[in-house]
């Protein structure tokens, strides 16, 4: 090929280049993609760790249950039950110990921030919560009159939907009166994340562990 043609082609194609505006937008998109990738990698590690921890807890709970349900040599079944009243729920308690705020159940607040909300405003947090409650990653929600969920019932899909709606319409407000009557919920997600929340007379929703207090219109 003629060098003259090649030189002319190079010269002409040097003028073919993306606009500065496009490059700025592209840089932003790539930065976001890289950040998302890092976040999903962290989530994956946490998920694997959660599964591993659950397996350990399940095995430990199984051993504990087997041990405690073994008939005593004296044959006094009631004394076995009395000595460990929480045994049937011990595996649940231990699971909760791994994730989230389990203050009400064990009296020992353990908070693991599985859900990274550091970059969200409270309103965005409410939107994110609404989405999470209506997503497939939600396993179930327990409902209770107190901030304790041992033996609490799961709520129906309709109730989950209305709870999600409450967050969709929520706006930031001050904390509701402590003496107000509350309904407490514990949302459990497939990846092990647990979020406790409460609703006050269908007018407020709260996520106490995040200090998020929202008014529902």
């Amino acid at each position: 090929m003629s060098d003259k043609i090649q030189n002319k082609y190079i010269e002409e194609y040097k003028d073919v280049k993306p606009s500065a505006e496009f490059l700025d937008r592209l840089t932003l998109t790539l930065e976001q993609e890289r950040a998302n990738k890092k976040r999903s990698n962290i989530k994956m590690v946490r998920r694997v760790a959660s599964i591993a921890a659950c397996l350990v807890v399940a095995v430990a709970a199984g051993v504990l249950i087997l041990h405690n349900t073994k008939p005593s040599s004296t044959g006094d079944a009631s004394s076995t039950t009395d000595s460990s009243p929480d045994t049937p729920n011990s595996s649940v308690n231990n699971s909760v110990n791994i994730y989230g705020d389990n203050t009400a159940i064990t009296g020992q607040p353990i908070k693991i921030d599985e859900w990274d909300t550091s970059s969200l405003t409270p309103e965005e947090y409410a939107d994110a919560m609404a989405q999470m409650l209506s997503s497939d990653s939600l396993s179930y929600i327990l409902k209770s009159d107190s901030n304790s969920f041992v033996g609490a019932d799961k709520i129906s899909d309709d109730e989950i939907a209305s709870l999600s709606e409450m967050f969709k319409n929520a706006t930031l407000t001050d904390k509701a009166d402590d003496s107000a009557e509350r309904t407490y919920y514990m949302a459990v997600f497939e990846d092990g994340l647990i979020i406790k929340l409460s609703a006050v007379s269908d007018s407020y929703v709260e996520i106490p562990s995040k200090d998020v207090f929202l008014s529902v219109n």
């Binding site: 090929m1 082609y9 190079i10 073919v16 790539l30 890289r34």
Partner: protein
């Protein structure tokens, strides 16, 4: 931070270093700024998602060019683009009906199969072996593409009395 000897690039560095290369190759084949931008974005997103290790800059550049060729193929055969091209042809405004005013325009009038090979050879100044790897074709096929492409380019330019 590095990936097996070759430095990991920040988003800005990645854009500064490779976006023009990808954009030009895409433009050479697709002749559309919007399509070239789409290809550039898609290729660099794939780069980040792939999180590959590269031995050196040449390896990284070759990978990006190969992915660019694949993305161009996908876009060139997409229903959306076919629709646009059909509309363009129906309107009677095609490159084939215009006289080339330079080498760039002349290359744009070449049949599709020659454009990428010609661009990689002319502008990126890659060897036949490198082009054959990027296009996933034999060296003989690449030689043939370049030879026939050159002949057609010469024909187009001689009609205009340019560079011959």
């Amino acid at each position: 931070m590095s990936k097996n000897g070759v430095a990991e690039l920040s988003a800005r560095e990645l854009v500064d270093k490779y976006s023009a290369m990808i954009y030009r190759l895409a433009y050479a084949r697709l002749q559309s700024n919007a399509d070239a931008e789409d290809v550039t974005q898609e290729v660099l997103l794939r780069y980040i998602r792939a999180d590959k290790s590269f031995n050196d800059e040449e390896h990284r550049k070759a990978w990006l060019l190969k992915v660019t060729v694949n993305v161009i193929k996908t876009l060139a055969t997409s229903a959306h683009r076919r629709h646009d091209v059909e509309l363009e042809e129906a309107s009677g405004v095609t490159y084939e009906q215009q006289e080339p005013s330079g080498v760039k325009e002349a290359v744009a009038q070449l049949p599709e199969k020659y454009k990428v090979a010609i661009h990689l050879f002319y502008f990126e100044q890659l060897t036949i072996e490198q082009i054959s790897k990027i296009l996933n074709k034999s060296q003989g096929t690449v030689k043939s593409l370049l030879s026939r492409g050159r002949d057609k380019l010469r024909e187009l330019l001689s009609e205009e009395g340019q560079y011959v």
